[in-house]
Amino acid sequence: MVIPRARTTRRLLAFTALLAGVAGCSADPVTVPDSDEPFLYLVLNYRTPDRNMIDNRSAQHAVLLTTGSPAEPVRFRAAERFELRAAGDPALFGWTPLPARGEQGSYPSASLDRPNWLLPDIAPPGTRGARDIRPGVQYMLTVATGGRTLRGETVVPDSFAIRTSAEGDRRIAVWPRVRGAAAYQVEFANDPPRVQSDTTFSFPASAPPGSLTVYAMDPNVYRFTVERRSEREGIDTGFGVFGAVSAARF
């Protein structure tokens, strides 16, 4: 059977156009999100060097940002109130804002080393400092920022110590199950840290002292950083986490 060429060509083109059209009809536009939601990262007892301080001391601090757009730099956020207090203690902790940095309070990336709220170890009279944070105590947070109020609660895990024993060329670290901890973040030498529910860790006996640090993570920190099921833990609105850790080093 021979079909006239012109008719064949027309049919072929029409068929191809139809099929291509059908295949291409399902594109969805991608929108870049932009949000005014506040973001808070405040983990009591977790310390990193503070680049705002001349001597680069380790300090207790917090990062308060506007989540903004992923296509834009990070925007720091001011707060009308930044109040932390321990349960049963009316005294506030002495959180102080740090000067905005970067152009118009923004910075290309966020870092815990560039906080915008600082809690000195020793606070001004009448307020509490970072050294007053106690294990096993419940803390309440209230942050009012840009018409939003974040409220949160956490309990600092108990303090603990690491015991070790030698087994051949290995050393076994053991610590007790810590009250208030959901899991343990183990940092050994330059290895990537690991998160575990186990309370033992084996490492080479030749490791120098100070190589092993164990953080007992409260449930808020664990859920936010490890499980990642929710975008807010320990606070009632916004994004981020209000939690606590306690640490032990060997």
Partner: protein, 764 residues
């Protein structure tokens, strides 16, 4: 066509005593009715060469036989006048009218006219396939411009209802099912994951294959563990004349040797293929990872007892190797290797009235890497063993046909790894960094299917596969109905339940090996319904199909939210939750002879794959509602054949980012970095841009030095389109950040670039 008639005395016959005797091998040879006569004949081509493997069937009966290597056949027919159809792929079917019965035997000679194989549509009408099945032959696979190598898995995707997510994933989705619901079998023996190059290519040398039956809407009950269907690969027919083939391409070289008529009724098929990609790539660019593969098939067959008995041994092996250039020179580094090895046997006892088949196979799939010797901490060791066996009886009469049997499968999975730095490179994203576990499972099953001519145009089958696993009995009934209203028009429908006893962790991502796969003692279920209408006039075919599938208990990795990359704390891993899923759709496929030199084949598939997670129904990861394929073959001047393929489909479903948050870098906590953390919106509620690809292939075959030479030149992705695989959100947002708008060109990882290749085939 011509035929001659002669008459002979009818042989005396014996009755098969009882149904129980069906289980006795020797019984089958004597099972035929007293009033039957024998139609004997020979099938030849127009050059008087024998045509092997042609199916000779009495229309309106279930009596059918295949021609032998010499083209001879013997078909028993009852009393009366019968129309007999003779079919073989590559030839035009022919029909003769003969008188059957006890009064006489008849001998005929049938000469089939060759059809232009190179211009056949991709899906051919083939004899002896299950209802609603589609068939792709090795010849038609070669029509499709290949991705370096002709690949049966890259060809079947042009069929309606068959999908591959993108260029870089060769895994097959059938009718909206997940990729691990597609079973792959070789000569009836089950395989694990026969793919090369991190899932890019199938692990079969097309020269070793005869055809692939794609079973989607009806899976015969003898096939288990095929929730969405099966790709049933057949090695080259032992009846076909011996033919050797060597292939030299830019990617691989391979040799296939087929020998029939060896001493003592033995035939041999050996096919081996190896790539030199790993050697070339590292010479051109030393920083590239070394990626290579090899595969092979060996089949030894032996016929005796006048062709009534046949035994086959089958071996299949595939091996891939991926070497990290940064570690290659390190002493003690064991690169990533994966593959599988199958050893199988089959014994068949054939007789005019039926056939008994016993088969058994052992298949081991493995994946392993060890970086500990090179100073790393990562290692992977997975091993999956599958012992599979079955016995099956096929009996046919004029008006009914019965298949019954039993199978036993024993499987063991040993999977262990510490792969902290390898998750993104080797495994899929939700694989935990550490795991060690073993599983064993035994599944026994009884299966049966009977087919009955109901009168008029109607025929129907009813069957069941009843599995026993971990103390549970799982019945899977099935039924089909068909009406051949005329020689060119047929309606078919099927309803069935299926079970599968494995689940992969999740859909593999591009550039990863098969995700860890786990055994499910309770099985997983799907209920399937499908209808089909097929019209096949001489100038082409047109088929329309509709299907609906319900998954009441699809396994899904628990607590895996979008954006979750890995979890170090694992309790009861993998602890699949069971969710409900569904798939539905309709397909239109057809082929047409546009002129004496041109044929076109196309298909359109509409299908949705949905899953219900936390009470919300959303598209599955592989959901792509619209898919179109077009294959055009044109014979040009100087014996060149040009083939052009267009493939297009909707972009895959993906989950949008609705906000940005931040999180500490757990990999480097001392850095103090807060990394962007994307907050995801409704699951799979948007799509990546659509996929379009045009491939072009040219083939020229000539004869010289007593061999057929074929030169194949092809260009894949002729339009050099960057088909996005998925959004890399960091790239998307950086694009907007630095250019002020989303260009789309850098939306994420792209599929294949424009890819020319050339190959030379020699067959003798």
């Amino acid at each position: 066509m011509q035929f001659d008639l002669t008459r002979r005395e009818l042989r005396s016959s014996r009755r098969c005593p009882a149904l129980t005797a069906f289980l006795i091998l020797g019984c089958v040879s004597s099972a035929h009715a007293q009033s039957d006569g024998t139609l004997r004949g020979r099938v030849l081509d127009t050059a008087d060469r024998p045509v092997a493997g042609a199916v000779v069937e009495g229309i309106g009966t279930f009596r059918q036989v295949s021609s032998t290597g010499t083209g001879d056949f013997a078909l028993r027919l009852p009393e009366g006048e019968w129309r007999v159809i003779i079919r073989q792929i590559g030839f035009r079917p022919d029909t003769v009218v003969v008188r059957g019965g006890s009064a006489r035997d008849t001998t005929i000679v049938v000469r089939l006219r060759a059809a232009p194989v190179l211009l056949e549509g991709l899906a051919v009408r083939a004899p002896r396939v299950a209802p609603l099945a589609q068939v792709v032959t090795a010849a038609s696979v070669r029509q499709v411009p290949p991705l370096g190598e002709p690949d049966v898995f890259r060809a079947v995707v042009l069929l309606p209802g068959v999908a591959q997510p993108n260029d870089l994933k060769g895994r097959i989705h059938l009718a909206g099912g997940a990729s691990d619901e597609t079973a792959v079998r070789l000569d009836g023996h089950p395989l694990h994951d026969p793919f090369h190059l991190l899932g890019l290519l199938g692990a079969f040398n097309v020269a070793a294959l005869e055809r692939a039956d794609v079973l989607i809407h009806h899976v015969p009950p003898q096939i288990g563990d095929a929730l969405s269907g099966a790709i049933d690969l057949q090695t080259r027919s032992a009846d076909a004349p011996g033919r050797n083939e060597a292939v030299l391409s830019l990617l691989t070289s391979g040799v296939t040797v087929a020998r029939t008529g060896l001493p003592a009724g033995t035939d041999l098929l050996v096919s081996m293929r190896a790539t030199y990609l790993d050697r070339f790539a590292t010479v051109v660019a030393p920083d590239l990872p070394s990626l290579g593969f090899r595969d092979g098939v060996v089949r030894i067959g032996h016929d005796w007892g006048g062709g009534r008995w046949r035994a086959e041994l089958l071996g299949f092996h595939t091996q891939d190797r991926y070497s990290d250039p940064d570690l290659t020179d390190s002493t003690g580094y064991e690169p990533l290797e994966w593959g599988e090895s199958l050893a199988g046997m089959r014994v068949e006892r054939s007789a005019p009235a039926g056939r008994v088949t016993v088969r058994a196979s052992w298949n081991r799939s493995h994946a392993g890497v060890d970086e500990r010797g090179a100073g790393g901490t990562n290692w992977i060791h997975t091993r999956r063993d599958w012992l599979s066996s079955a016995a099956q009886l096929d009996v046919a009469r004029e008006r009914w046909r019965v298949r019954a049997g039993a199978s036993f499968d024993a499987r063991r999975h040993d999977q262990r790894w510490i792969a902290r730095g390898l998750i993104d490179e080797v495994f899929s994203p939700s694989t935990p960094a550490e795991y060690a576990g073993s599983q064993s499972l035994a599944v026994a099953a009884l299966f049966g299917e009977s087919e009955l001519r109901l009168g008029g145009c109607f025929a129907g089958t009813i069957g069941a596969r009843v599995s026993w696993s971990a103390g549970q009995i799982l019945p899977a009934p099935s039924a089909t109905m068909s009406c051949r209203a005329s020689e060119s028009f047929q309606l078919q429908g099927a309803v069935e339940r299926r079970y599968q006893f494995t689940s992969q962790l999740e859909e593999p991502v591009e550039g990863s090996i098969t995700p860890p796969t786990f055994l499910l003692p309770g099985g997983r279920t799907v209920d399937v319904a499908a209808v089909s209408a097929e019209w096949a006039p001489r100038a082409g075919t047109l088929s329309v199909q509709a299907f609906a599938k319900h998954y009441p208990d699809r396994p899904r990795l628990r607590n895996r939210s979008a954006g979750t990359t890995r979890e170090d704390l694992l309790e009861n891993f993998p602890d699949f939750e069971r969710i409900r899923g569904q798939a539905y759709g309709a397909t239109v496929g057809g082929s047409a002879l546009l002129s004496a030199r041109a044929r076109i084949q196309g298909s359109y598939t509409f299908q949705r794959a949905l899953e219900e997670v936390d009470g919300v129904s959303s598209p599955a990861d592989w959901d792509a509602p619209h898919a179109v394929s077009l294959l055009a073959s044109v014979r040009t001047l100087r014996k060149w054949t040009a083939s052009a393929v267009y493939q297009g489909h909707s972009g895959r479903a993906t989950t949008p980012v609705i906000a940005r948050s931040f999180e500490p870098d757990l990999r480097a906590p001392r850095s103090g970095s807060l990394l962007p953390r994307y907050v995801y919106g409704e699951r799979n509620s948007i799509r990546v841009p659509p996929y379009h690809r045009v491939d072009l292939g040219l083939r020229r075959t000539w004869r010289a030095r007593a061999a057929d030479w074929t030169l194949a030149v092809q260009v894949l992705n002729l339009l050099a389109r960057e088909n996005p695989i998925d959004y890399d959100w960091g790239v998307v947002f950086d694009d907007v950040r630095y250019t002020g708008e989303q260009s789309g060109r850098r939306a994420g990882r792209a599929g294949l670039p424009i890819l020319p290749s050339v190959g030379l085939e020699v067959a003798w």
